[in-house]
Subunit: 293 residues, 2 copies
């Protein structure tokens, strides 16, 4: 009996890590696809997937599942270029951090191809296949954005792949919900980190930075083409979140300026208790002196 | 020959960690001082310092070095209450995250007592002696804010203590410089984390948060009384930094709103290259696809 095939198109950090994390999944063979010969060679030497190739069309024609692990515009362009090349009855999915634009782009696929948008919420500050690792997705969220036409079989397959790769959970949302929330939980964090680095004091602060500064600015050295696309493809939702943050910062500034310590304490208690309620990998509440202040 | 004495007043997370980190320093005996009997008992049982006591005045009268490890207002109140009780010729220092107000408060000490302000830039999201550890200061900055009257002997002693406790470096600044920079590198990070948690979408975002969100909001569950004091004692500098951040965020919002991808990319490249130049525990520059987007 022939083994079924999962194609992973694009072997950067995410695609490479997916190809590693999926090895051994059920009875599937994992085939990496990259444009550059040296990436394919690296993949074959380092076990990124079971095998790798530059032959896109040949792989698409026999892949039961195709993961598109390219930058956002790259996924849209790939879908347009290879519309008719996916295997009929197959599942196509992606890893893009915005979903409405991608799911819209996938609507042009033939009806026999089932597209389920996906956003594996994991990453590193470095990119490229050399940094790929099969454990990248442990404890991360696996978000899928199903559409009315998706088959139950493919939805179940997505979940099994997510579980196999070690994700913490499988989260379902509409593409629009996803994009609105991700503007808040991810995109504005990157805008903020960038905005902090625009402060004229940046280069005077060496020797004075602590954990909070390192943590917040960590993502500022971002992949510019990628994030330009992500922000642009989600501009209205992102701009709303930035505006809310500007307002909330101004409210803090005014509370600090007016010098009413009780009012400031009440405001901080409000925010801090919201954070504690969220209970993300969070601190238990302490009761006495606390730094880094 | 009698051993010299270092008193650590206040055995919370920072004081407790200092008392542990200083054990074995030269020929000094480390004496912890706390108000509550149970804190003293805990310290004696767990080796937080060489010994601990509630007898403040007795310890101050013989301490060659006194570390004030209390909240900001607590340090000011302690200095006022025990002005005449420090050993003549001794060194007094502190751990407060703002320095101008503390150094001003210390100006009322008798001329025979030498005060050198200090800010050990380390911490955790939890507080209290039970979380103290001698390794807390490894790789952190040890900031001191000397004044014209300080003796060379005491300045050298501060540096030796900082090195002994495992700090990465000893950084010198005026109290005013310290407060201006810390408003940027630490205080505004905490304001930002709190402001992010004020977003009405906070509780909808479970399942969609990634590393950047966890890292940025980590410090939002802050110790409210402590940070109310820190922000209030540094209000003008902090408000200037918040205003700059509001402006920088608005500039990003406008760049995203206007839809000019090239202009947005140039702006992101500007911020990202500044971050890379800073080179804090930082990412090498990647060259292809990168998440968590």
């Amino acid at each position: 009996m022939e083994r079924k095939t999962i194609a992973v198109v694009g072997l950067g950090l995410i695609g490479g890590s997916l190809a590693m994390a999926l090895r051994g999944f059920e009875d599937y063979q994992i085939v990496g696809v990259a444009r550059r010969r040296e990436t394919v060679d690296y993949a074959n030497v380092h076990g990124v997937g079971d095998t790798a190739t530059t032959e896109v069309k040949e792989v698409l024609s026999r892949a039961d599942v195709t993961w598109l692990c390219l930058p956002p515009q790259g996924i849209l362009d790939f879908l347009a270029a290879y519309l008719g090349d996916f295997k009929p009855g197959s599942l196509v999915t992606d890893v893009c951090g915005v979903k409405t634009a991608i799911v819209d782009g996938a609507k042009r696929l033939p009806p026999s191809v089932d597209f389920i948008g996906c956003h594996p919420m994991a990453g590193k500050e470095v990119s490229g296949i050399a940094h790929a690792e099969g454990s990248l997705f442990r404890n991360a969220h696996f978000i899928i954005t199903p559409q009315p036409g998706n088959t139950t079989e493919h939805l179940e397959l997505m979940k099994r792949m997510g579980e196999y790769m070690g994700f913490r959970d499988v989260v379902t949302a509409t593409p629009e919900q996803h994009d609105a929330i991700i503007a808040y939980t991810s995109q504005v964090m990157h805008v903020m980190a960038a905005a902090v680095c625009d402060d004229p004091d940046l280069f005077d602060c060496k020797g004075f930075e602590g954990g909070s500064f390192r943590d917040c600015t960590r993502v500022a050295a971002l992949d510019v083409p990628l994030w330009t696309e992500l922000f642009s493809l989600n501009a209205p939702a992102l701009c709303r979140v930035i505006q809310t943050l500007e307002n909330n910062l101004r409210a803090y500034r005014e509370a600090i300026e007016c010098g009413d310590r009780e009012a400031l304490a009440a405001k901080l208690e409000h925010s801090a208790s919201r954070k504690r309620q969220m209970n993300l990998e969070g601190p238990p509440r302490g009761d006495s002196y606390k730094p880094e202040g």
